[in-house]
Structures are given as structure tokens and as C-alpha cells.
């Protein structure tokens, strides 16, 4: 389906959280490794992050390249604005970005996709739209917005696999979020600005995958 160019940064994971605290790094390393095995055991089939985790042990899944396409550019704009807002603890701005995304979904040119793509698009967007809407109506409840952003980020990764992307994206990973269950997000810069932990632990996390549209 899509080939993600991976620069799987195991080293990046190691150096992710608390750059100046070696004992903590070691702990995070075990945590991440643990997460990877856990995901494998469960045989998760929706999170692309999990495929990446699997590739650590040599099970690289074969994915087609993400198409170069600007169809989803308004959706991505909204998502990335939301990511930045959450990273800077700005709940109202995250809500506004949610509304932006809802509008972008509404004006998306669905007819340009083939029937098979439409089916995956519908499946993903039904869910994504609901999360975006919900984040939009929950200004002031940033923790709750982040819970939905977690699932929305998975949806977005699946969405660009279908509709393509107009820019290079990085899939980043925060091992600490959700009681150390971990969560992914998408970003356009290599620099880590964690949307789950906010300014409290802004640089916590690591880049897992580089998604270069072709």
C-alpha cells in the first residue's frame, strides 16, 4: 500500500526524553522496547506505528509510497495547526483548528478518488471528523482534547496513505503518554514538540518514520 521511507531512529528513541538524564534514558529505552513487543503480541492492524515497531525485529511490512498530492492539504493544515496548539498548551486554538479540519473534510473532493479509495477514505474520515469536531467543542479541556488527538493522529496517518500528502511528514512517538502506552503524531519538522505533554515536557519523544510523498 505505501512504502514509508524509514529512518528508524532507535538511537533517536534512546536520546528522546530528558536529554540530560542518563538513568531516565535507560528507563525510557526499556519502556519503548516493551511497547514494541506488546504491540506485536496484540497484532495490531491499524496503527502504522506498530508496523514500525515490528520492523525493529526484522518484520518490515511492505507499504507502497505515499502519493504526492495536495488534495488533503487543507486537512493537514488544520491537523498541524492543532498539533502546534496542543504542543503550546493552547486549548482554544486547538479547538479552532478542529473546526478548521471539519470544514476541510466537508470541502474535500471525494469524487476524485476511485471506489476502493473512497471506501477507505469514508471509513477513516467518519472517525476523524468526529474527533476533530469533538476537539472543536471542548475548548478549555486540553487533556480531553489530547485523548482524541491520539486517535485522530492514527486516522491521519491512515488517511494520507489513501489520499496522499503534499509535504514530507515525520511520524513522531511519545512513549510516556497515556500511562506509558505511548502515542504517535505527525509533524513537518524534525524538531520534537510534543503535543501530548505540552510545555511540561516539550522535547520528549522521538522521530520514528519519515514519510516522503512520491
Amino acid at each position: 500500500m505505501k512504502r514509508i521511507l524509514l529512518t528508524l531512529a532507535v538511537a533517536g528513541v534512546l536520546s528522546s526524553c530528558g536529554n540530560n538524564d542518563t538513568s531516565k534514558q535507560a528507563a525510557d529505552q526499556t519502556e519503548t522496547a516493551h511497547n514494541a513487543t506488546e504491540h506485536e503480541e496484540h497484532g495490531d492492524h491499524d496503527g502504522h506505528g506498530d508496523h514500525v515497531a515490528s520492523s525493529v525485529s526484522g518484520n518490515t511490512s511492505v507499504n507502497g509510497p505515499v502519493r504526492k498530492s495536495d488534495q488533503a492539504s487543507a486537512i493537514l493544515d488544520g491537523y498541524l495547526a492543532m498539533k502546534d496548539a496542543l504542543a503550546s498548551d493552547n486549548s482554544a486554538k486547538a479547538a479552532a483548528s478542529g473546526e478548521m479540519m471539519v470544514k476541510a473534510f466537508a470541502s474535500f473532493d471525494r469524487a476524485s478518488l476511485d471506489p476502493k479509495q473512497q471506501a477507505s477514505y469514508d471509513d477513516t474520515v467518519d472517525d476523524a471528523r468526529e474527533h476533530a469536531e469533538h476537539i472543536g467543542t471542548n475548548s478549555g479541556k486540553i487533556d480531553h482534547q489530547r485523548e482524541h488527538f491520539d486517535v485522530l493522529s492514527k486516522d491521519m496517518t491512515d488517511l494520507i496513505a489513501v489520499v496522499g500528502s503534499d509535504r514530507t511528514l515525520y511520524q513522531d512517538y511519545c512513549p510516556m503518554y497515556n500511562n506509558k502506552k505511548g502515542a504517535n503524531w505527525l509533524s513537518t519538522s524534525k524538531e520534537i514538540k510534543n503535543p501530548y505533554m505540552g510545555s511540561k515536557m516539550s522535547t520528549c519523544g522521538s522521530m520514528k518514520t519519515e514519510i516522503v510523498p512520491q
Partner: protein
């Protein structure tokens, strides 16, 4: 004194008057092939807890308390039920796509975990919707085992 009397009479008139505002009962389709409990078959105790703590506002069938047919309580409840069903309808769970079902399960678990659900106003009236720590753990444990 005279104004106080007028105010009291006006209040009574309004309270009596609003009793004629109709609020439809929440009695929609409850089909076993779409119902959350029927589809996911949780352990009996968890199923009962979900019924008592969630189904009144998140399904097509509400067990109304006696006072709920009086206004303005009926309007207040009707509004809650409408909002609740919009976010999650356990009677129509089977209509959600697999992806959305997973999302809903996740949201259910985090809402309970955060103490956001059941609503405080609901728990004040429905004491049996106050999940004990052990109950909460059982429900959460099961929900999480379903989130694959």
C-alpha cells in the same frame, strides 16, 4: 409584600404552564444485532453496570424516574439524552464502522477513567450509577481488553 405575592403567583403559573410542553420519550429501536452488550457480550456484572450507569442517556431506551415527567426536569433530561446519544448510542453500536467502534471503546474507557462519566448530576440522582472502585476496575479492565 404585594410584589412578593405577584412573584409567587407568577412562578406557580409558569410552573403549571410549562407542564404542557411536550418532551418525547426516548423509546427507539433496540435491536439485538446492533446493541453493544449483545454484540460484545461483556461479563454479566459489567453488562449490568453498563445498563444502569450508561444506557439511560446512551441508548434508545431510558428508564425514567417518576419525577422525570414533570417540567422542567423532563426538558433537562431530554436534552441530556439527545446529547448523549449523539456522542454514543449503545443501541446502534453495530452501525458504527469497526474503526469508530474502536474509537468509541477507547473514549468510553477514558471518560470513565477521568471520572467525566457518568455525569455528576446523573450520579447524584441515580445512586446505583455510582461505580465503586472495584466495579470501575472491572468495567475498565474489560473495556481495555476489547480495545485491540
Amino acid at each position: 409584600m404585594r410584589w412578593l405575592k405577584i412573584a409567587a403567583v407568577a412562578t406557580v403559573v409558569v410552573l403549571v404552564g410549562i407542564q404542557w410542553i411536550p418532551t418525547p420519550l426516548n423509546r427507539g429501536d433496540t435491536r439485538a444485532d446492533k446493541d453493544f452488550i449483545a454484540l460484545y457480550a461483556p461479563p454479566a456484572r459489567t453488562g449490568t453496570l453498563l445498563k444502569t450507569a450508561c444506557y439511560d442517556c446512551h441508548s434508545n431506551h431510558t428508564d425514567y424516574p417518576w419525577y422525570s415527567r414533570f417540567q422542567p426536569v423532563a426538558m433537562f433530561l431530554g436534552n441530556h439524552i439527545e446529547e448523549g446519544k449523539k456522542d454514543l448510542n449503545l443501541s446502534e453500536f453495530g452501525d458504527y464502522s469497526p474503526r469508530r467502534q474502536r474509537s468509541k471503546l477507547k473514549a468510553m474507557s477514558s471518560q470513565i477513567e477521568d471520572g467525566a462519566m457518568p455525569l455528576t448530576s446523573y450520579r447524584l440522582i441515580h445512586w446505583n450509577a455510582n461505580l465503586s472502585k472495584a466495579d470501575e476496575k472491572a468495567v475498565l479492565g474489560w473495556l481495555k481488553s476489547e480495545i485491540k
